[in-house]
């Protein structure tokens, strides 16, 4: 297949920059001998190349750029060293300190558990939640209760104070609260159910009471 004019023209820029193979150079020179019009094209490309070479594109960063590069290298090496140290066998002093503190905290927790655990089985003792004044009387009796939707917080609060009950859990997703009472839980359930404008259901969990609705 014969070479088209465009195929040949595509070689000219590389003929001008002197990078063609000897065989390609021969092809161009042969075509040039047959078609002197190609010389105009070559002249244009030569001038264009000279102008591109002379074009000033501003100063390069020079030694300033080298210093910047060396600084970046040092940073990179520093980061690599610290990564190697943390994954290697040498543990820095600060990390060793934290490890000792963690071991001491574990020992303290173990000691505290050993002291408080036997107290759980002693009857009549209440554990008081450290977070608040609502004494969760875990040693007392538990009542489960639901309130009517219209019951206000103020009325519920007054009722719970009247029967000396504390909320120890809830509300659940179904609106169930668990109350702890110090006194006779049966009597408290009766009192709660008497307030049908506030209480929907109440049951004594301590005695396995099956629960009643207010008004039943």
């Amino acid at each position: 297949m014969s070479e088209t004019r465009q195929d040949l023209e595509q070689l000219l820029p590389f003929y001008v920059n002197g990078s063609l193979s000897p065989e390609e150079t021969n092809r161009v020179e042969q075509a040039l001998a047959e078609d002197p019009a190609l010389q105009e094209e070559i002249d244009f490309l030569k001038h264009l190349r000279d102008e591109v070479k002379d074009l000033e594109l501003g100063n390069s960063p020079g030694e300033f750029g080298l210093r910047r590069l060396q600084k970046a290298l040092k940073e990179e090496q520093k980061q690599r060293n610290s990564a190697e140290t943390s994954s290697g066998t040498v543990v820095p002093l600060s990390i060793r300190g934290w490890r000792l503190a963690a071991i001491a905290a574990c020992l303290l927790l173990l000691l505290q558990t050993a002291v408080t655990l036997p107290m759980w089985n002693r009857s009549g003792d209440d554990l008081i939640a450290a977070g608040g004044g609502t004494a969760a009387q875990l040693g007392g009796q538990i009542i489960t209760v639901t309130f009517v939707p219209e019951a206000s917080e103020e009325n519920i609060r007054n009722l719970l104070l009247a029967v000396d009950a504390s909320i120890v859990a809830g509300p659940s997703a179904l609106g169930v609260y668990r109350l702890s009472v110090a006194r006779d839980s049966e009597a408290v359930v009766e009192k709660l159910l008497a307030h049908r404008n506030l209480v929907e259901t109440a049951q004594n969990d301590s005695s396995g009471y099956s629960g009643r609705k207010a008004g039943q």
């Binding site: 465009q6 023209e9 595509q10 070689l11 820029p13 590389f14 920059n17 002197g18 990078s19 063609l20 105009e40 002249d43 244009f44 490309l45 001038h47 264009l48 190349r49 102008e51 591109v52 070479k53 002379d54 074009l55 000033e56 594109l57 501003g58 100063n59 390069s60 960063p61 020079g62 750029g65 080298l66 910047r68 590069l69 060396q70 970046a72 290298l73 990179e76």
Partner: protein, 197 residues
């Protein structure tokens, strides 16, 4: 200062042989060799990057990133290409990546027609007193890929095979891009002369 250049008295080394020699040392962590490598390529690499970004600060950033990459990967250079081809390839991808993040640099759209223009005005423009300004104006309006090929062919004087490896495209594509870049330059320079006249 420590000299990391090839020892005197040896046969005159080509630029590529010198670069390979330095890369081997850089691969072993020799910072002096790295400084020599920087001095060997810094100017032409900066110019290549700047010709596409047209922003000295960004070009300096990419020059820095490119040479950091050389430091990290020197020991992976296998000598399948010239060092300059490998180096310009890294710079080219970093530059293109940066250009994609910028919206003010056209990537591939046509900025002006490439129709062949045999008017003598293009040559007259190259011979005019304001030719530097005209060339700069027209180069700025080339497609980014054409500008890269023209810079590598006419400033770095690289063969099309090596340019193809740098910009990662077939050799025929490089020749076609260069052909279209020349046509576009002709058209642009002719219109500049028309505007002056």
């Amino acid at each position: 200062m420590k000299n990391t250049m090839p020892p005197d008295g040896s046969e005159q080394l080509s630029d590529n042989e010198t670069a390979v020699y330095l890369l081997e040392k850089i691969g072993k962590g020799d910072e002096h060799a790295f400084a020599d490598f920087y001095r060997l390529f810094e100017k032409c690499l900066f110019r290549f990057i700047k010709s596409k970004l047209n922003d000295s600060f960004e070009a300096a950033d990419i020059l820095n990133e490119t040479l950091l990459e050389v430091w990290r990967k020197a020991d992976t250079f296998e000598g399948r290409s010239k060092v300059s081809t490998w180096l310009f390839g890294i710079a080219y991808y970093k530059t293109v990546d940066r250009m994609r993040k910028r919206t003010d640099i056209p990537m591939d759209e046509e900025n002006f027609p490439e129709t062949a223009d045999d008017s003598p005005d293009a040559m007259a423009c190259l011979l005019s007193a304001e030719r530097g300004e005209h060339i700069r104006y027209c180069l700025d309006r080339l497609k980014a890929v054409q500008k890269a090929v023209m810079e590598l062919a006419f400033f770095q004087d690289l063969p099309y095979g090596e340019i193809a490896r740098i910009v990662d495209c077939p050799e025929n594509t490089v020749k076609t891009r260069m052909f279209h870049a020349k046509q576009a330059m002709k058209h642009c320079l002719s219109s500049r002369m028309g505007a002056d006249g």
